[in-house]
Symmetry: C5
Subunit: 306 residues, 5 copies
């Protein structure tokens, strides 16, 4: 199947207000690998999963670890919740851009009806000198009504303050599971479009997984498609339209996969990666080593300058 | 059965505030086919159904396709959500009127208790230079309480800013399905009246379907009526009173049906059509061809000048 | 059983603020039959039941029918929702008082947990030049918590603007059905008191129905009472205290019943009637004929001047 | 079991703001029996139970009966909802203090998840010249979350306007019933503490009932306590701390019980009584007679001057 | 397992706004044992459990007991709800710091879906001269969405007024019970991190309990860990990062346990203790005696000066 774009990809930044443009350019060009790429370090696992994610590398339990790593390794930005931003970011203010994550939840109750309410505001982000805010949208959750309404308020505040909006677009809920699952091509593709339609400036997506058994439950034509992962990622990036796309990594995997995913997203026209556990579950030197490789891969594969 | 109107149909525009009148006249007379007709292009399927609707014509996945099509083919307006309006409308501002759709949802969870919360505001529409807003009302949903209350706020803002209100009036929910289904004459007729009673300036309705088995479950007298589709549409337009009516098309069908529906709605006193997939699931030249025919049909069958 | 009132019925108008008094006097004395009576024409069936109520008299589908009827026959006021008030009332402004109905719902889902949210505001009523607002309270519904809270806001706005409040006091819900049903003497009597306690200036009630089988389920002493309908209505009017009472008619019945109910409510100390289908489901001349008889009956049986 | 207080009971009035003190002193000293006592007449049964409570004394159906009774018999205050306060209180303004009850509900649906939303505001009370507001708190209801949040708003408004807050503290809900029931010593004792902790100036409590079978289900040590009713009431008054306590009567009982309860609450350090049906379900002369006896008992047994 | 911190523990106070720093320093250095420790006296059991907690020491039923005890024994602060703060704190204002607890609930309904709504505001705390506010967060409850959103508002107000925020971080709910229970190392560790991430200045935690059977249900690696209680507490304190940690005691236990827990929390880098029933369920002299020992232990084991 051939997907054609009627026009050459237009600059995203061209449609942004001055405030959004100023802040997003900072992440894309002034920090991190530069050249229009995004290398983001997320440290929201402490709330989403609890401290259990820190045991493989006990040093990572101290948030200072991730902040110092992001600063020293030259990240585009660090993404965290209000508590870390308040207590650990001050030492790095002016040296490392901040993406303030506005909502989140524990994974203790089941996620059949997932909804993350906001625990911080865009105004908090402005006050802390953040360059963007993050919002987790549970695409397809039965509580999408509350989710979309809440996102409306966040988006409006972002426009008011010229603050870029990064959407963690996560398919969730029982109905989603019955249609191929949260990681299917169908799910991720829908998530990409949804985030763009809702006004995301940057969309964070998971790498799609292919499972012939489960994929049969996806709606047509996904249930019968036979595409390579690379092609799927390319289509997903297309679905996000003029929103930038960053790919996330999930649980820790091997170096080859990390780098392959980085290459795939960039070749598909994406703007970068947001790997957390794959980076900071390593000890300091190993972390720096993989970061250098990721950075090199990002710069080597830029297809689209925003 | 003969339906008589006590008075000749009064001008809708006569009862509108200056702001609403100025904006609606623009759609009816300055853009599109003109002469009081409405030819609207909806591109909200990416949120309502996901990217799967774009596969039959891969070019349509890029929203630029629909925007350019609407502008070049001379549409009365394009209707889309906030994300597209923010990123794709700027290039067409001043050349193509915009209807900002204010609510929407994915179709991933079941629609037994359908409710679309707003993801954008009337103020967003004003800021973007839109000439109308769109709102989806799920008539008969168990959550009509939340829906009607939300619509109240949208309508009040429309009055405040002189913004025309287009209501996508969609019968939904388990109780509706038990009374003949969402597409029955009963359902569509109720939807038409409901939207008008709630203050819609324009009502978007689906073409009713007749199913002898299911229609028996509709309340009297619908359960025993034997009317032609043309007569049903005529009555539905009457139920919408002084609100303008546009008919929508649903999934892609053949040319004859598209044109027949166009003729039917116009002969019934409606104001136009809002076909999406039936248009942009075609490639560029085919799309332009059918649009020309629709336009001709609209102009040839005007019964009522608003 | 003899019910004694410790004082002669005090004037309701005496306790009203100037704004409420000015507007209510207009309905009671300047329009309609006058002499302190209320003859109200409701046209909210299009939302509460859908267009099916208009088929017996197809002309009634056009709201112009009811507006013209109310104006020409000399009604105290017409009661309708925001859509009709916006599009059909302007031609009659200054010639026919308007009661803007603020809430409503379709009858598509079951009414076990009935709640009508507002779709218009008291401020809308002020803007439209209305002389009163209407509110449907579902007495005994499991959602009475939301209902009473919402009514609080409406009542407060009515006090703020000097706008009379008419409460459609309707017993509803599964628990109500288990205690004798929505039309029982117990139910209507409770509804009358409830509306008065919540601050209604005028209470709209249904005529109670007696059903020996179901009445046994009412709480004492209703389950053992043996009263005539006339006596029941008299007690219900007493339960409404210093609120005015108008009786509604429900579905279409014969002339004798209409006129008997009119006489009964007036002899019981009520202030008038609000018949809809019983009037406008007739053709024009028949409608005018029954209206004249109702009007005569109202004026002939005034027991209490407000 | 001996309960000792570390300090002598401190004056409640000493901790009140000037506005609360001025208003509460009026009830305690200027009206009613005086000498720091409270004799309150509630007339909220019309909403809580419906008109059925008025049948034993038909004259009581007219609210004028209770207002005149309260004024002529010299009550400390009358407590009622907004409707009665608006229509019946004006004639007594300046002659009889008013406690405006802010929330309430019908008893038609079951009370497993009881919650009374507000139907009037503290501002209404100020406007009407009331000297206190009343709030029903359903202690232990599964909806305590909504209840306590709502009470927070009422309390804050009371502080803003210097308006005394009377809490009807009623144990309710399925869980409460499973722990000995709403009238158990455990339930009433918890209710007393809860109301005081939430900021009540006056707490209205029911007389506890003892039922050896059900009391076994109360938590320790209540499930094994063997106390006299007098001792229980004394402890309950202690649990209310520096809040004043008034005891309510419930359904009509004999004179001896009424007077015994009055004596018990006063000897326990309470401040008075709030008997409704026990008073106004009697005819005029009988009502005045029992009121005189209650008043005498109140004055004869004052243990604590507020 | 060894947990290393990349940096020496940084001063918490260094990241606080002037208002928070001024108030928190007062508790840490000017009152209580001083030297950066916190000895807090909670008296919220009257709402959380009811008066039953007061029976072991009847004198404790009078809140004056706890207030006088806290003042005379030299506590860092007393923590209570709005009712006690309003009526009992005035005599101690300026002599004993106050932590106003903002939310709470009875324990009558089950805690499967625990949520404590606020019954007082940060503004109340400011008005009363409090030096901190307390908030109970039910970590892992299915209603975490409402809880976190509510906490957002409290935190924002704390920042606005420079008011320190103490979070009672309590794992709760059916899902939590299925993963090892509310007192497991996993649960408490998650609670510590969660409170810090949400912006707590001080976190109140329960002492973890070890139960080999239930711990198997905790997520990895907790389900297989074999750590001493001391090590677990040390890790929990680490999880709270730069938030101060105080350990609570729960129901009354023996002196040795009280003192051992005090030593454990201090050696782990915590800042103090908050024992309620373990102190005020003793009579006056016994209470003073154990307080002296706790105080000595706190001062003897300071590891970290805030």
């Amino acid at each position: 199947m051939e997907v054609k774009s009627i026009t050459e990809q237009k600059s995203l930044l061209a449609t942004l207000s001055p405030g959004k443009r100023a802040r997003l350019r900072r992440l894309l060009f002034d920090y991190g690998p530069g050249n229009g790429t995004l290398m983001l370090l997320p440290i929201d696992q402490g709330i989403e999963h609890g401290p259990r994610d820190f045991f493989p590398n006990p040093a990572s339990k101290d948030p200072e670890y991730q902040f110092r790593l992001a600063a020293e390794a030259g990240y585009s930005a660090i993404a965290c919740q209000i508590g870390l931003a308040t207590r650990y970011y001050p030492d790095y203010a002016g040296q490392l851009p901040l993406i303030l994550k506005l909502n989140g939840k524990t994974d203790i109750p089941p996620s059949d009806e997932a909804l993350s309410t906001t625990n911080a505001s865009v105004e908090d982000a402005v006050r802390l000198g953040a360059d963007a805010v993050g919002y987790t949208l549970y695409v397809g959750s039965p509580r999408q009504d509350a989710d979309l309404l809440q996102l409306k308020g966040v988006r409006a505040e972002c426009e008011r303050y010229g603050m870029p909006l990064v959407v963690w677009s996560y398919p969730r809920g029982a109905a989603m599971e019955a249609k191929g699952g949260r990681d299917s091509f169908y799910a991720i593709d829908y998530g990409a479009r949804m985030a763009m339609e809702m006004g995301a400036d940057v969309v964070k997506l998971n790498f799609p997984k292919f499972d012939p058994e489960k994929d049969k439950d996806s709606p047509a034509p996904y249930n019968e498609m036979d595409v390579t992962p690379e092609e799927a990622v390319r289509q997903i990036v297309e679905s996000a339209g003029r929103s930038l796309v960053v790919l996330s990594g999930g649980s820790k995997t091997d170096d080859e996969t990390v780098l392959a995913h980085t290459r795939t997203i960039m070749e598909a026209g994406g703007s970068g990666v947001i790997f957390g556990r794959n980076v900071w579950q390593r000890d300091w030197d190993e972390a720096l080593a993989i970061i250098e490789q990721i950075k090199a891969s990002l710069l080597a594969n830029v297809r689209r300058t925003p």
